[in-house]
Symmetry: C2
Subunit: 363 residues, 2 copies
Amino acid sequence: MKLDSQNLADLAVGAAFLGTGGGGDPYIGRQMVQLCLNEGLTAELVDPDDLADDAFVIPTAMMGAPTVLVEKIPSGEEAILSLRRLEKRFGRSATHTMPIEIGGINSTIPLLVGARLGLPIVDADGMGRAFPQLEMETFGVYGISGSPMAVSNEWGDCALIEARDNGTMEWLSRGVAIRMGGAAYIAEYAMSGAEVKRTAVPRTLSLAIQVGRVLRMAKAEHRNPFDALLGFLPETLYSYGRIIYAGKVADMQRETRNGFSMGRARIDGFAPWTGAMEIEIQNENLIARIDGRVAAIVPDLICIMDSETAEPITTEGLRYGQRVTVVAVSVPALMRTPEALAVFGPSCFGLSEPYTRIEELST
Amino acid sequence: MKLDSQNLADLAVGAAFLGTGGGGDPYIGRQMVQLCLNEGLTAELVDPDDLADDAFVIPTAMMGAPTVLVEKIPSGEEAILSLRRLEKRFGRSATHTMPIEIGGINSTIPLLVGARLGLPIVDADGMGRAFPQLEMETFGVYGISGSPMAVSNEWGDCALIEARDNGTMEWLSRGVAIRMGGAAYIAEYAMSGAEVKRTAVPRTLSLAIQVGRVLRMAKAEHRNPFDALLGFLPETLYSYGRIIYAGKVADMQRETRNGFSMGRARIDGFAPWTGAMEIEIQNENLIARIDGRVAAIVPDLICIMDSETAEPITTEGLRYGQRVTVVAVSVPALMRTPEALAVFGPSCFGLSEPYTRIEELST
């Protein structure tokens, strides 16, 4: 599947939705890939089932605080440098690139890299959403080493990290990314086609495009976009979704700490919703509580959307006074196993509440 | 020259002297090399003039806060891992290793690496003293790139940094070293034998051994060790030295900040010295002021020594109540050029006073 401009526009919306507030501003990434299309380059998706077992896939991404990204725009060469560095390390050329997360800019960086280098992009990712830390990948949950990884910046500086485990890789590379100004570009979790099929969350790029299209079509046809979205989800691996709250953003705390965008949003409910919802943020929306009671919890998706336009709102875009609707969505089964929850379940973010599937929570 | 146990003991004293308070506790490094000698291994110094022009020299060192080093003892494998990583990067085996600074533990880490790997150690270094930052090397002043450099820890984690300049290399690798716990082990400034001859401060390892021996012999023969030391210096590249103060440590401020040991010591003078001396510290002693007037300033050496034993005292060893004698020493000419002062002169440490040679300062 070769992407066109409409696909890119839909992808930006769908990736912001799946990113649960994180992954960086999708607008910037979309414009960078659009520029490639304008130049006649091609961004071509490949289904993971069509990968040769011995394909050599090098995923590419941005790492850093989304709040930084919107002021420190990439040149577009950074992630390419990181991919080239890993090729040199392995002594082997990549056959494909792939997203590590399907959120915001990180759904589009691999498109940019693929278009520029003439590499097809695998239609899959390693988070099935966005997560703030690099060890929080299904790749790692199911045995792939994130190292060696490369971190590069717009000056051509590059650090090649080889760490004992994926958590240490995250810790050390975050130190570099912070000193590169809070946003840097990486290549990591290099793996074979067989390993992609075994460990990746499949078809999330095309899913994001479909989500964007569903919302766009509904609005064009004056149907309720929330109904359209929730009606579409059962056809996907993200089979369950519902609105868990609607109201007005009443308070927003935000700071960039340890290289992450940390924050807390309070939403005061509109009838029939009562009380107030509080959402805790580490780059992404982690937990939503209504008057202290859990309404949705990581890794299930918590998506804050504009109540009028159904546009997903990234955490750095949240503002006092916005009227928002909060949608929670179940994640695919491979993200809910005990192994997966040990890597990106609530306790990994310091949350004391246990994971409870959104299907089993009442609102 | 093959080192024996007596050489090691003398080196530890001399390197603490040349380290001007920094470079890490020499005791730890001495014990690690002694262990090698006990096992029958050899630490052999080679004069830089005897290096083949096409020799391939990989310097090795510790980087981090000396205050951390004394609690986080190295395993001895860390610097070897970094050297091996650079060999792999260059596709070439090192013929020699070398110190990057002739201070404290960093005079002995290359001995440890050389003894373990059977590599001779070049009798030279890149600072002619100790400095807190990795761009502050005569190697870099005279055109050698510090990158690629490797940073490793006791867990086998390794970061290979390739930076646009040596200041950026320092900045990025410091971020990694901090996240490795505040002390890590490096290989950097890989260069040819010809480049060593052009850019290194020569014969500083043997000088440190001589300094230690001069102090030891004077004490054994009940001569004044300070007189013996100051009488010896004119035979060396460090041709001028004098006592600039003596008194009691009256106040000591110390903190580990941004990966460095930062501090300030106040010494109240004993007659005939009047007033109070304040010494500012970033890992090393940077400037000594008597009642606000400069008495000695970086890059000249400022060495705080025990008034009774003439033992050099490292910055982390300074304590309230110690009776100390402060000696200032001129550095070799290649460390006083405009190019050198642009990299490690007073302004590089945020000091507002211009560099004035110790020969031209009165006390």
